[in-house]
């Protein structure tokens, strides 16, 4: 047994030596991550200070957990937390379902031209910024002469003020995000689908399974690990609902369900200059995300037997 482990160790060392080019290629990313991710970690101490820019981190007063106390006592904290979670989970659910469905459907298309044309078409929105899209949505959802409401009027419905009603706002935000991202998100699934052994399908055909049965019993089980990875990664982002989207679409009418942690932090931290407070909220978010990702990882491991790390 002892010898076995030493052999394994040696193998590892040899492998490392063999792959030095790969490590070299990795190094710029490591250096960048170190500079732009790890060094700024030091700024976290701001969350425990009453930070004043002219005093700097070294000169500002220490206040301990004061900022966190303030955060939990702040009257709107609970509301923005639930708003964030609601929008986020809805996005996660509908986003994953639509992405998956699209990937499965496009995978069945056999005409190569049609397939790549559709793919390119649905990729496109991903590359547009919410600043631009925000303006476009404001126009087409305009309650008096927007495109959507004109259409609703034609088929006999009352116009809807999509961005001015709390429930419609959430629906609009989720739907527009799904529309923007499902094409791009399907890349991962398509890659997984391409990796399924064709022999499995041939065997199933021989057993008399139709398209639907093949999907159910071969395709889906084969990509469960991928789904697990995607979900795990998404859950770590559950408190990041997308500041730029909400910020460009929301207004005081929909504070009730549309105001999220990030927009709240923006107003509190950047507009009113409470740097320490916004750092504290950011830190809180990160800690919550850490636990979520650990939890999701365990579930992914148990359900799909998939290891990321």
């Amino acid at each position: 047994m002892n010898t076995a482990t030493t052999i394994k160790k040696k193998e590892k060392i040899v492998r490392r030596k063999d792959n030095w080019q790969l490590y070299l290629m990795l190094s710029p990313a490591v250096v960048l991550a170190f500079i732009f991710v790890y060094i700024p970690f030091g700024g976290i101490v701001m969350a425990f200070q009453d930070y004043k820019p002219y005093l700097g981190i070294s000169g500002s007063k220490w206040v301990g957990w004061e900022q966190f106390k303030f955060m939990f006592e702040y009257p709107d904290s609970v509301q923005v937390f639930w708003n964030t979670l609601r929008i986020s989970l809805l996005k996660l659910f509908f986003g994953t379902v639509s992405t998956l469905t699209f990937a499965l459907l496009i995978n069945e298309v056999r005409k190569k031209f049609l397939r790549s044309a559709v793919q390119t078409f649905v990729f496109l929105p991903h590359f547009l910024s919410w600043v631009v899209l925000g303006g476009i949505f404001l126009e087409i959802l305009d309650p008096t002469n927007g495109l959507v409401n004109e259409a609703l009027k034609v088929i006999g419905f009352d116009p809807i003020f999509f961005l001015g009603d709390n429930n419609w706002f959430v629906i609009t935000v989720v739907a527009s995000d799904v529309w923007k991202e499902f094409g791009y998100g399907s890349i991962v699934f398509l890659a997984a689908l391409a990796g399924i052994n064709p022999a499995l399908y041939e065997a199933a055909q021989l057993d008399g399974a139709g398209r639907w049965k093949q999907t159910l019993h071969i395709t889906l089980p084969s990509i469960v690990p991928t789904i697990a990875v995607v979900l795990t990664l998404s859950i770590s982002q559950v408190l990041n609902v997308g500041f730029d989207q909400i910020f460009n679409l929301y207004n005081p009418l929909v504070y009730g369900k549309g105001d999220i942690i990030d927009t709240f932090v923006y107003r509190m931290g950047l507009v009113d200059g409470n740097y320490s407070f916004s750092t504290a909220v950011g830190l809180f978010k990160s800690v919550v995300s850490l636990f979520l990702i650990l939890g999701a990882y365990r579930i992914a491991y148990k359900v799909a037997g998939y290891k990321i790390f």
Binding site: P53, Y54, L138, F161, G164, N251, R267, V271
Partner: protein, 573 residues
């Protein structure tokens, strides 16, 4: 023993202090061109024919104005203006770095400079109040009161004396820590802009009371003023998305002002103490009226989404009958509207009287744009050189010669033809470039009453004298730009605004955020936006306003009111 030594030391220190004070006052007596320095150690500059002998260097940093243009390969550090300052004034302006102001990076860089502990440049301009306050708090900028008193020319002092409140944001413990860059705020108030072509078409008169206003509104919505057969016009437009105040086009202050209060403004109540406009009883009536107008379709269904850009867009689309806005409304977005509809025209009218015939209130912009900060470590020479430079620019208001700055303006702002300034783009070789943006403060020097007097003469079409033209000299726009008729409407709007100056309510609280403001503003603001918007949309009853007022007061509003009044007492003279 130790105690005695301490006392002796303090006596010594005091006597040195007194001696230096004495030196100051004795110097005062025999000063001529330049006054002696406040620190008394260094002599006055040797100025020959307006030029400092042995040029003095001033270091600065610059925010890049997105509208500034350069030609002949020039830039902020080296251009016709800096060469002029060096060669004719003996003031060598050295720009350490520049950074764009448009995206806020200049402001960020200023803050970085402060927090990294770098040595400050001698003189620099800060445009953001919070940033300016940080510099003042840091103790790294000098108390300018004494230097300004000693070195500023009589003209510059007189110009600033017209806007005493401009100093207030930069005061701490009764001392002045920055020199305000002042601006002309006459014309920032809203007149009532009405589509004259619609009025004429529907055979209506401009409204003078709230009731008449509502009649015109009704006609503008229901009588198809744009004649396209669709009910797609709004009678009134204004901004309310991010706040209820602060939209230069689409101002709401006069709408609330018809009911006797202005939201989001601090101004004195009957007891002379500052009060917050958003919680005054008049607001409730205004909100009730706005709800009624919304139900009747006088204002847009999506009014809650209207901000400056959306208002400008709706105006440009030719859908808005009336709105409040600053005097330049016809320049922008008016010119966009003219591009698609050349017969459309907004004409400024005086505001109608409010509810029950009361005087309508409205806001007026602050009389300053930014702050000139001076480093504590500036040498006395550089300090005097800076004042020499600024004083020279202010000589425009003592002169009869409109071309006294042709040294840096000719060939850039204008060319001189038959003794007159020709400002048209094609006549200036290499195109037009506004040199006032090259100056140390990046803005024209303003003497409010003199600048205004010239504006009025132009609006009335009167002949301009040499001194009138000279008073425009620092802007580089000398005379009337015939190529832009919309400029004339701007000046006429100022005239209309001037007929109602007793309606003007400036912001009285000009300090930086108080402690409670920093921690509670977000909550209070959100509460206000929520309540006001929901009342206008009929999702909350107007009585909700009363509970908002109670909640506002108990959630920190009362503390803020106290702090604001403490500040007000400290600057009020």
């Amino acid at each position: 023993m130790k105690k005695k030594a301490k006392i002796a030391a303090s006596i010594l220190a005091m006597s040195v202090g007194i001696a230096s004070l004495a030196a100051c006052s004795s110097n005062n007596g025999n000063s001529e061109e330049a006054s002696p320095s406040p620190s008394s150690s260094s002599p006055a500059l040797n100025i020959v024919d307006g030029k400092i002998d042995h040029a003095v260097t001033i270091t600065t940093v610059r925010g890049e104005d997105p509208t500034a243009t350069f030609k002949n390969g020039e830039n902020y550090s080296d251009n016709v203006h800096t060469r002029w300052a060096r060669d004719t004034l003996g003031v060598d302006i050295k720009t350490l770095w520049t950074s764009p102001t448009g995206d806020g990076s200049y402001d960020t860089k200023l803050k970085l400079m402060l927090s990294s502990g770098d040595k400050l440049p001698d003189i620099f301009v800060s445009t953001q109040q919070e940033t300016t306050s940080m510099f003042i708090e840091s103790g790294k900028v000098m108390d300018v009161s004494e230097a300004f008193e000693k070195y500023a020319s009589a003209t510059w002092k007189a110009a600033l004396a017209e806007t005493p409140t401009a100093w207030q944001p930069f005061m701490k413990d009764g001392k002045k820590y920055a020199i305000p860059v002042i601006r002309q705020n006459m014309g920032t108030q809203s007149p009532l802009w009405i589509r004259q072509d619609w009025l004429t078409k529907l055979n209506l008169q401009a409204p003078t009371t709230l009731e008449e206003l509502e009649k015109v509104m009704d006609a503008f919505v229901n009588q198809d003023p744009d004649g396209n057969g669709k009910k797609d016009t709004v009678a009134l437009d204004f901004g309310m998305k991010d706040a209820f105040l602060g939209y230069p086009i689409g101002d709401t202050s006069w709408i609330f002002g018809m009911f006797g209060a202005i939201p989001e403004r601090w101004y004195p109540g009957e007891d002379g103490k500052l009060q917050y406009g958003s919680i005054q009883p008049g607001i409730k009536n205004a909100l009730t009226k706005l709800k009624e107008w919304k139900d009747k379709g006088y204002i847009a269904t999506d009014i809650a989404l209207h901000d400056f850009n959306k208002v400008a867009e709706t105006v440009a689309a030719g859908k808005v009958g009336m709105l409040g806005g600053e005097n330049w409304l016809m320049v922008y977005p008016g010119s966009l509207m003219l591009a698609s509809n050349p017969t459309a025209m907004y004409v400024p009218y005086t505001l109608p009287t409010g509810e029950g015939g009361q005087k309508t209130l409205r806001t007026i912009g602050v009389p300053y744009t930014s702050a000139i900060l001076i480093s504590k470590d500036i040498t006395d020479e550089a300090l005097q050189a800076f004042f020499h430079y600024q004083n020279t620019l202010y000589t425009a208001f003592e002169s009869d010669d409109p071309f006294l700055f042709k040294g840096f303006q000719e060939g850039y702002d204008y060319v001189i033809k038959d003794g007159k300034a020709d400002m048209s783009e094609q006549d200036i070789p290499g195109g037009k470039a506004a040199t006032m943006k090259y100056t140390l403060t990046g803005a024209a020097s303003i003497y409010p009453s003199k600048t205004l007097a010239t504006d009025i003469k132009i609006a009335k079409g009167e002949e301009l004298t040499g001194s009138d033209l000279a008073s425009m000299a620092t802007t580089g726009i000398i005379g009337v730009d015939a190529t832009n008729p919309l400029e004339l409407i701007t000046r006429q709007a100022t005239l209309v605004a001037m007929e109602q100056t007793d309606s003007d309510v400036p912001e009285y609280f000009l300090g930086s955020s108080t402690d409670t403001m920093s921690s509670r503003n977000e909550l209070l603001k959100k509460m206000q936006m929520d309540t006001f918007t929901n009342i206008i949309y009929g999702k909350a009853s107007p009585d909700e306003f009363d509970s908002f007022v109670k909640k506002w007061k108990s959630s920190g509003g009362d503390d803020i009111t106290k702090e604001v009044n403490e500040w007000y007492d400290s600057v009020k003279q």
